[in-house]
């Protein structure tokens, strides 16, 4: 892992590396809890997906174009995030900053299109209070979107710290943890893409 390379037993930073190590392990476990959280939301969505009351069916309003743009932006951002960590391991602060800022840009783009999509749905008469199915949709996809929003703020904070302090065992551990978080959101999106959008459209049109 990233911090292992910066770890040098002769420096006074040794303890800090230990903190980094613990934090990374703790964050992996936290992601385990996040999996449980999203699994519950997915299960809820699945149970409610046909309960549309008087509102529109889910697949009826989904649009392929917006979906593909969002997916492309988020998947690419995961890739650039990986490049950023790669640069960090080469101690290239500039490369790290550059790729991370691109990641953030892509994340913002994703959010823009997601919000546009939500506004479109609301315009078409589907909001959180339309039916159980739409409640499930908005809360599941919205929770992912809220995670992305939080991630953008978080990464920005960490980048400010890297700019101020340079790459230290502490800042690098933080960068690495935010990258784990970012990749995780990407994985969750793949599930949303499949279980919500693809299945929704197939069931409606197919």
């Amino acid at each position: 892992m990233a911090h292992a390379e910066t770890h040098d037993p002769n420096t006074p930073l040794e303890y800090r590396s230990e903190v980094g190590r613990l934090n990374i392990l703790g964050f992996w476990i936290f992601l385990g809890a996040e999996i449980a959280l999203f699994a519950t939301l997915f299960a809820t969505y699945m149970v409610l997906t046909h309960r549309i009351a008087d509102g529109p069916a889910l697949g009826e309003l989904f649009e392929v174009k917006s979906l593909l743009i969002q997916t492309f932006l988020l998947l690419t951002s995961s890739f650039t995030c990986g490049l950023a960590v790669h640069e960090m391991r080469r101690h290239n602060v500039k490369g790290l900053m550059l790729w991370m800022i691109i990641t953030l840009g892509l994340g913002l783009g994703f959010l823009y299109f997601e919000i546009q999509e939500f506004l479109h749905f609301i315009h078409e008469g589907a909001n959180i209070g339309t039916s159980a199915a739409w409640s499930g949709f908005f809360v599941l996809v919205g929770t992912h979107g809220a995670h992305v929003t939080f991630g953008i703020f978080w990464v920005t904070m960490v980048l400010i710290q890297v700019a101020k302090r340079g790459l230290t065992p502490a800042t690098s551990a933080k960068v690495f943890i935010t990258s784990l978080y970012w990749h995780f959101l990407d994985v969750v999106w793949i599930f949303i893409f499949t279980a919500v959008y693809l299945m929704g459209m197939v069931m409606h049109h197919g």
Binding site: A36, T40, T44, L48, A132, S135
Partner: protein, 646 residues
């Protein structure tokens, strides 16, 4: 919400509570100011990140909550003592049983055990603190704030009254309007964050902070039970987080997850609630199992029987805990196949639990049993818990459950497991580790009075309830008719309840009595212990726990060292400077903002909720930018501390 309805009015009981709250607050303010204790309170307690102090704060809060939940219980028992009683009206009774259940599980049992885990686990594994001391303080303050938010409901705005299970659609805006149910949602949500963080913190602590030589299969059983508990917490609590959030959305933002309108699904709430709720039951029982394992082994002067079987049975129980939730609603009509499967998985939990019972019994076999108070509670546990266990198996038989469900038979069953298991475990653990926390034992003679009063009271209170259940008395009714014939057994039950209440008071008196008169311990080994927490030279370990981290060579390392006369004496040469984390006031401040956030949501005052949210995020950012490297305790200071405490 009108302003003149902000405070709950019209009930003499509530006015009494108002007066006592104001008097207590005034008394505390006066005392703290008069004796200039504010600074001490801030530096020693409110900002501490020391696991032992946080543990003590958890336990103190839990004992307070036990008092509150106990008063609720006695109010209920008073109302039910005779048929057609007019002591409480229906609404008031409903509020009381709702807060009783919620407080006892979420704000009493769990924090009590987490408190004991906080004090003991780092010491048992030979660590100087937990993996994330700062996060530990955040956990405590979110729990505490959640508890306070929930507790003020009975004087401000009105308590929730939909039961601790809060089944939908009863708990929806249409059937339970007002702030009451919101208190439930936000009190639990905020406290739940703390619990999840505790889960991560202690899992990493146990996995990564063990003393050299302490392999997983050399860990004390209490540490093992904590480890398993933390894993359950990590997977169960997110489910509660989601369930509470979805109900909050239903109530605040008009979504339709569980509502009658919009094709919401009330059964989904029941499923989500118990998907968390059943593991929750094991979260509050497994640490108690760990406590009993330690105590029975210590006071039988014998190695725990079947160490590995104990661990495997716990892992099995943890796994099963996620596979039995449907038994809470066999009567939902899920079909014969589903009910059969869940009947069998539920009964199967009895197998590893039975194994544990026999292993405890055989730990005593060929031992030298000392009847100290912690041991009495442990024996009381075995005898009473088995009753809860066998009736649990009876309830697991779905076809029979159709007749037990929603009756006092069920009420009695879960009190037999939760009191004889969890509460006995909390008491046993508190008494056992009391000298570790405060430097002296609780008085044993008074302690035995407490034990007998409580145990007899407990049986007098709950044994009749099995029979009331079989006689068709449903739970949660606020009164019953003369003709029902339930009067005498209810009266008996009430008498038992008050015996338990008296026992609690005697326990509190014992704390005072022992504080005044108990002989102070001069060594760290108050009971002839087996595990590392007893190996510190001082009765109360210093803030860094161990001057020198022990090296462990086997199970019950300290006991074996004592047997072989090889207990190491510290020399100045062994001492190196010790790194410790700094105190921080941020967790407390963050907790306060959580209160603002929760209170805003409870009353649907979004401006207030947003202020709270900004505050919480602000403290997060502040912490992210704060590079706190901790500090070093110098060799001289360690040497001095160790000498003083010798």
């Amino acid at each position: 919400m009108k302003w003149d309805e902000f405070f709950v009015t019209g009930d003499p009981l509530i006015y009494g509570a108002d007066v006592s709250i104001v008097l207590t607050m005034a008394g505390i303010l006066f005392y703290m100011t008069r004796y200039k204790k504010w600074k001490w309170l801030w530096t020693e307690w409110l900002t501490t990140v020391d696991h032992k102090k946080l543990g003590i704060m958890y336990i103190v809060s839990a004992v307070l909550m036990l008092f509150r939940g106990g008063v609720d219980a006695l109010l209920m028992r008073t109302q039910l003592a005779v048929p057609e009683a007019k002591f409480l009206d229906s609404q008031h009774y409903n509020e009381i049983f709702t807060t009783h259940g919620t407080i006892m599980i979420i704000f009493m049992a769990m924090p009590f055990l987490i408190g004991i885990i906080n004090v003991v686990v780092p010491l048992q594994i030979g660590a100087r603190d937990v993996a994330y001391p700062y996060l530990n303080a955040v956990s405590f303050w979110t729990f505490f704030i959640g508890a306070m938010l929930f507790n003020i409901s009975f004087v401000i705005g009105g308590s929730p009254s939909a039961g601790w299970t809060s089944y939908m659609p009863l708990a929806s805006n249409e059937l339970s309007p007002g702030p009451g149910q919101n208190y439930y949602l936000w009190g639990l949500q905020i406290a739940g964050i703390g619990t999840l963080l505790t889960g991560i913190n202690f899992l990493v602590t146990i996995l990564k902070m063990r003393a050299p030589g302490m392999t997983l299969f050399r860990m004390p059983m209490f540490t093992w039970s904590s480890l398993v508990t933390m894993v359950i917490i990590i997977f169960a609590f997110p489910i509660l987080t989601v369930a509470l959030a979805l109900m909050s959305f239903d109530r605040l933002f008009g979504s339709h997850f569980f509502t009658l309108q919009g094709e919401g699904m009330d059964m989904l709430w029941a499923n989500l609630f118990w998907l968390w709720g059943h593991p929750e039951v094991y979260i509050v029982i497994l640490p108690a199992f760990g406590i009993f394992s330690e105590i029975i082994s210590t006071f039988s002067k014998k190695t725990l029987f079947g160490y590995k079987a104990m661990i495997w049975s716990m892992l099995l129980i943890a796994g099963y805990s996620f596979l039995v939730w449907v038994h809470h609603f066999f009567t939902m009509g899920s079909g014969a196949a589903v009910n059969s499967v869940f009947s069998i998985t539920t009964m199967a939990i009895g197998i590893p639990t039975g194994v544990k019972i026999f292993n405890w019994l055989f730990t005593m076999y060929r031992g030298k049993i000392q009847f100290t108070t912690p041991m009495l509670w442990s024996l009381g546990f075995i005898v009473n818990f088995v009753v809860g266990g066998v009736t649990g198996v009876m309830l697991a038989m779905a076809a029979a459950d159709y007749q037990y469900h929603n009756t006092y038979f069920l009420v009695s069953h879960f009190h037999y497991v939760l009191i004889a298991g969890t509460v006995f475990g909390c008491f046993a653990g508190l008494i056992y580790w009391y000298p570790k926390m405060f430097g002296y034992k609780l008085n044993e003679r008074i302690g035995k009075w407490v034990f007998w009063l409580f145990t007899i009271g407990f049986n007098v209170c709950f044994m009749p309830q099995y029979f009331l259940g079989l006689d068709g008395m449903p739970r949660r009714v606020y009164t019953y008719s003369e003709e029902s014939g339930w009067g005498p057994l209810n009266m008996l039950s009430t008498i038992g309840g008050f015996m338990m209440g008296i026992a609690f008071l005697v326990l509190v008196y014992n704390m005072y009595y022992s504080f005044r008169f108990a002989k102070r311990e001069t060594t760290g080994d108050a009971w002839g212990g087996r595990t590392l927490e007893w190996s510190t030279p001082a009765a109360m370990p210093p803030f860094y726990n161990f001057a020198k981290i022990p090296e462990v060579t086997g199970l019950d390392h300290f006991w074996r060292q004592k047997q072989e006369g090889k207990v190491e004496k510290l020399t100045a040469k062994d001492i190196k400077k010790i790194h410790m984390p700094n105190n921080s006031g941020v967790p407390f401040i963050m907790g306060s903002f959580f209160f603002v956030l929760g209170f805003g949501f409870v009353f649907d005052w979004m401006w207030m909720a947003i202020i709270g949210l900004i505050g919480v995020i602000g403290t997060l950012i502040y912490r992210s930018f704060e590079y706190d490297d901790g500090y070093y305790v110098s060799v001289e200071e360690v040497i001095e501390t160790e000498k003083i405490s010798k």
